[in-house]
Amino acid sequence: MSDGELVGIVLVSHSAEVAASVAALAKGLAGGGVDVPVAPAGGTEGGGFGTSSELIAAAAASVDRGVGVAVLTDLGSAVLTVKALLAEGDELPDHTRLVDAPFVEGAIAAVVTASTGADLAAVEAAAAEAYTYRKV
């Protein structure tokens, strides 16, 4: 990115703790002193398990630096709510993408890649590639 701005990352989980922990883990492992804009959007607004479109929209707005936002989700309503918000057209910043990636591994790959100043397509590709890392 020529203007030096970083891609933003939003982590949507059914649990506030999971989203916040994965955000902290990914930022911790990214290191390098570069502050990637990462925002968790976990649980419902009332603090329960589930998905909140308000929390997602607020998180996306908070990490938007004008060069794209990558959204990673866990499952079920998290995926469906992000897709529904994207279909609305005006709920999320321009160049917001739902990234098809495993939640934890994908988040780390996305944050590390974003910290290098990579563009949204590269962040998305790095996160998606985490699916190909077999453990057994």
Partner: protein, 199 residues
């Protein structure tokens, strides 16, 4: 012809029906889901009726688009974006006419159901809301009463199926023998159409 008032009555009747049946929906969601379907839909449709009272949109399309938006933002579970998309897409397909025919509504509702299938990736027989909605759409040509009967029959017919979508799909064969809560709430939505029409 159906006007904005008819569609407001549809939403109010759905909210009342969800209130009456919330415990049953949650009971159906206990063995194969996370036991929140009734309370989630109650929260969503309460928000729908509240916003429709406040804003009173003037066209059928605007009523459904606004209702769908509310569901997406308030439900908190997968039924929010799914029902929200159903109503929003149906509303968008109705356009800006002040009144629509039953035939126009049938076409628009089919577009809404198609959008739900695209969003959730479910097909008929996967033990989801689609199993009540598709028969209802197919029967709409014969009137709202026929659609109600078809949706109820479709919901009952999910009992012997094995779930292939959503949380219930993780249960594999253990999902067999339970009526799908999403198909059940969909049959309530369709029944409320007939109710709004005085049937």
């Amino acid at each position: 012809m159906l006007d904005a008032d008819f569609f407001r009555r549809w939403m109010t009747a759905t909210a009342a029906s969800v209130d009456r049946e919330a415990e049953r929906l949650t009971a159906l969601d206990s063995p194969i889901g996370d036991a929140d379907h009734g309370s989630n839909l109650q929260r969503g449709f309460h928000a729908v009726t509240a916003v429709l009272e406040k804003e009173a949109p003037a066209t059928p399309g605007a009523v459904l688009v606004l209702a769908g938006r509310q569901l997406i933002s308030t439900v908190g579970g997968a039924s929010g974006p799914l029902y929200g998309t159903l109503l929003r897409r149906t509303g968008k397909a109705l356009g800006e006419d002040a009144e629509v025919s039953e035939g126009q509504f049938a076409d628009a509702f089919r577009a809404g159901v198609d959008a739900v299938m695209a969003l959730g990736g479910a097909a008929p027989g996967d033990k989801t809301m689609i199993d009540a909605l598709i028969p209802a759409v197919d029967a709409l040509g014969d009137g709202f009463g026929a659609a109600r009967a078809a949706a109820e029959e479709g919901a009952l017919a999910t009992t012997p199926l094995q779930a292939r979508k959503g949380r219930a799909s993780y249960l594999g064969e253990r999902s067999i023998g339970h009526q799908d809560p999403g198909a059940t709430s969909s049959s309530l939505l369709v029944a409320a159409l007939a109710e709004a029409n005085g049937e």
